[in-house]
């Protein structure tokens, strides 16, 4: 009995299967392996994975969940596979995007050419909540503002990859990329040998090297790099401690650091030790009570001014949030053309801006078809999925939008592609996205192949955020393959799962695309 027995693509774009029901070329070997596996065998491997998860202590804190602060981050065993040619496109697209966004950040904190040329309305930038006037004219080392970027990619019903949002502040999730790989190499070792899966383990080395390159000029010898966490109550604390361990750097909280005479020090048992580079996982607002929120106890008083003076470096820099504001997102294609003179390699999702009267009336008239998002919230909070919302929820959002149009955007509901996920004792299609981690170093931009594939484990759900019941998958980027090398021709007998799939699957219905 195959785990794919009752599997149906339901007319969605399926990462593993073509509409005909045949596995896509780059998935063939995995498919063959999975159909040849008995349910018992697969269950045993799942248990091994769960055990590894628990033993490694991979958890994720969820805000507003009284049942317990920590729970395991669900891991789905079936990897998501990206062929090398597609990865090449993603890589070029994301490098282009981050290069342009970094130039944008430098510009809006210096000459403001893009605003003076009226490519973007000035008020959208200078009145944005995450635009830091205190940081105007400051020069971060090597001109880099965003050292670590996590951009979310989705695939629509036509199979096209789109950028859904950029995370330029303190993107999280990379620890799961590294952990998921460790788990899967243990659970499916044979497949790693058969398929040339590109490694991801060098992420930590690359990040550490980039951080060290940020050390201030006065720093002789090995720079002192630390990771600043908000503390154990933060939802990503596991990741902070994991990364500090991987990078071999100190994990510190605000109270472990102090500023004195324009330098930053760490308290140690052998006295104060100067800190050169801070990989900070604390948001701007909470980073320095002297400059930003005075009620923050998480930060280090005086830190921002030391950074500005060039005596300590921060990754990411201050004020990057102005570029991942969801309203500015709509302008990213224009930002790319403005600074690079190139067409965007990766497209945006069509976006309506509520501050524009024409878009506002469209949004209000079509709330039942659109996804509405607040400009500056993340993690799936402050969002309305119109087609799945109740009339009362839509009315509530209509009022919120009308009272503060600048703060809202709307997009058509994209029918995210699906991938098989284990549900009880069989495979079912679940919606997924992809968050690659882009590192901007002194010399170049690098991306570890793949990234975090998040999966909405609730049936029919489009929300993949870990805080909203999402799980994750290992993501395999193949190292240059031909269809023949991927498992040869399929035998007829292995297509039994297609019997329940739509017969006329070539003509994909426009499921929930809602344009």
């Amino acid at each position: 009995m195959s785990l794919f027995e009752s599997y149906a693509t339901d007319g969605f774009y399926d990462e593993m299967f073509e509409p005909s029901g045949l596995p896509r070329p780059h998935y063939r070997k995995l498919y063959q392996r999975l159909v040849s596996m008995s349910k018992e065998d697969f269950r045993r491997r799942c248990q091994l994975a769960d055990l590894t998860l628990v033993n490694q202590g991979i958890t994720f804190a969820v805000y507003g969940n009284d049942a317990g602060v920590e729970k395991p981050f669900p891991f789905d065993l079936i990897p998501r596979i990206i062929p090398s040619a597609e990865w090449d496109l993603i890589e070029r697209g994301l490098k282009q995007r981050l290069t342009a966004l970094n130039l944008f950040l430098h510009d809006v904190y210096h000459d403001q050419k893009i605003l003076n040329d009226r490519v973007i309305p000035r008020d959208l930038v200078v009145d944005a909540v995450n635009y830091r006037r205190e940081f105007i004219g400051a020069n971060p080392p090597h001109g880099i503002y965003v050292h670590i970027c996590g951009s979310d990619l989705i695939r629509n019903a036509d199979g096209q990859l789109l950028v859904l949002e950029d995370n330029l502040r303190t993107p999280s999730g990379v620890s799961y990329v590294l952990e998921n790989r460790i788990i899967l190499t243990r659970v499916l070792p044979q497949l790693f040998r058969d398929l040339a899966v590109r490694p991801v383990e060098h992420y930590s080395t690359q990040l550490l090297r980039n951080l060290m390159d940020l050390a201030p000029e006065h720093c002789n010898g090995e720079p002192n790099v630390v990771l600043l966490t908000p503390g154990v109550y933060n939802s990503a604390y596991f990741e902070h401690s994991f990364l500090a361990q991987q990078l071999g750097i100190q994990l510190v909280e605000g109270r472990d650091l102090f500023v004195d005479e324009n330098f930053v020090y760490m308290k140690t048992t052998s006295g104060p030790q100067r800190v050169d580079v801070i990989y900070r996982r604390v948001d701007d607002d909470f980073l320095d009570p002297l400059v930003f929120r005075a009620d923050s106890a998480l930060g280090v008083p005086g830190l921002i001014n030391v950074y500005r003076a060039g005596n300590v470096s921060l990754a990411n820099s201050i004020g990057t949030g102005v570029a991942d504001d969801k309203v500015i997102y709509a302008y990213v294609p224009r930002i790319i053309e403005y600074y690079l003179g190139e067409k965007p390699i990766l497209s945006n999702v069509e976006t309506y801006l509520a501050w524009q009267p024409k878009d506002l009336s469209y949004i209000l008239d079509n709330l039942d078809k659109l996804v509405v998002k607040a400009a500056n919230e993340s993690g799936g909070y402050g969002m309305l999925i119109g087609p799945q919302a109740t009339a009362a929820e839509r009315a509530d959002f209509a009022n919120r939008i009308k009272s503060n149009p600048r703060n809202y955007i709307a997009q058509p509901l994209i029918s995210l592609s699906r991938s098989p996920a284990l549900v009880e004792d069989r495979f079912e299609g679940r919606h997924i996205d992809l968050r690659p981690y882009v590192l901007y170093g002194k010399d170049d931009i690098t991306i570890v192949p793949g990234g975090l594939t998040r999966v909405a484990l609730r049936k029919g759900s489009y929300v993949v955020n870990s805080s909203q019941g999402g799980g994750s998958k290992d993501t395999w980027v193949l190292a240059g393959e031909t269809p023949e090398a991927l498992g040869g021709e399929m035998r007829q007998t292995q297509r039994s799962h297609t019997e329940t799939a739509p017969q006329d699957a070539e003509n994909l219905p426009d499921n929930g695309g809602a344009h």
């Binding site: 200078v126 500023v259 400059v291 001014n305 500005r308």
Partner: protein, 315 residues
């Protein structure tokens, strides 16, 4: 005028304070109206003072980590000011709404046209604007601004202690009184609502009467209503000669963009148009951008804060 400014602030604590980190916005600006020749901040207990420049003014910062019972911040500046005739270049006769309606002007100065937390567009501000409109001497924006300055001065009472640094204009409107910060916020709201870019200025005001350096009354008081203004600097109303408000503390007023592209100062607290007695220190959207001294520390609430400002003309 060559003005020497000493601005001393002392915080006293009932028991020891530690880990005090502070920012100061006390460095006078250098622009077409004034040149800052010298500036120094001295802190006691002794510590290093560092600074950097923003387009809106300079920022200094320092920390005192050791236990201390008081914190004394002495800011000394030497500034030359130039604008002896505040009315010079004002245009009262021609209508100039077109300039303010221009989309590129609205875009370029959007920061100084928007509402802020402290400067909301309260419904009552239209009534004040209407009074100022009735009494203006011409269609030019400068005529409106002078009339508005006078209207605010007459309609509101200067009374320290009724508002705090966190007060929005709603408090002032309810109470009918406030300090220079409140007068300025009110004027900002009215100007911005009308589409005139307006910014908050913190600074110092030289009071010639107090220091009897100059026997003449201040020549920059706005003229009585109804009289034509033609750049004559010898006009003043009956209140001239009274001590200026805000001259013994740090002062605040408003700068508005005029159609000739210049920013000109208006002081609704004293009913004055800014001249060479005004020393600009920092520019902001409202008070929260220009806070002269801001700090965080561990320890008890300060039992007292003493501020002493002296502005002396050097001859």
């Amino acid at each position: 005028m060559r003005l020497r400014i000493t601005h001393n602030t002392i915080y006293r604590y009932p028991s020891t304070a530690i880990e005090s980190h502070n920012e100061a916005r006390l460095i006078p600006i250098t622009d077409e109206h004034q040149t800052c020749l010298d500036h120094r901040i001295t802190v006691n207990p002794t510590c290093g003072v560092y600074s950097y420049a923003l387009p809106t003014g300079g920022v200094s910062y320092f920390n005192v980590r050791e236990p201390h019972y008081y914190l004394n911040i002495l800011s000394e500046s030497l500034v030359i000011t130039y604008r002896s005739n505040p009315f010079e270049g004002f245009q009262f006769i021609e209508p100039d709404e077109e300039f303010y309606a221009d989309d590129s002007v609205r875009q370029h100065f959007c920061e100084y046209l928007a509402e802020t937390k402290l400067v909301p567009f309260h419904s009552d501000i239209d009534r004040i604007a209407a009074v100022a409109d009735r009494n203006r001497t011409g269609p030019g924006a400068a005529a409106f601004l002078i009339s508005l300055t006078r209207t605010l001065h007459r309609a509101f009472e200067f009374r320290p202690g009724v508002t705090s640094v966190h007060s929005t204009i709603s408090h002032v409107l309810e109470q009918g009184s406030g300090v220079c910060q409140d007068f300025s916020h009110l004027m900002l709201a009215i100007c911005r609502r009308r589409g005139i870019p307006a910014r908050y200025i913190s600074g110092y005001l030289y009071n010639s009467v107090d220091h009897s350096v100059s026997p003449s009354v201040p020549s920059f008081r706005t003229p009585p209503e109804g009289e034509a203004i033609a750049g004559n600097e010898d006009r003043f109303d009956g209140e001239a000669g009274a001590a200026l408000l805000g001259a013994d503390v740090m002062h605040a007023w408003v700068e508005c963009l005029l159609p000739d592209g210049s920013w000109r100062g208006f002081d609704p607290t004293n009913n004055l148009v800014a001249n060479h007695h005004f020393v600009k220190v920092h520019i902001g959207r409202d008070y929260s951008d220009v806070v002269p001294l801001r700090g965080v520390y561990k320890g008890p609430t300060a039992e007292s804060m003493q501020i002493n400002v002296k502005v002396i003309e050097e001859l």
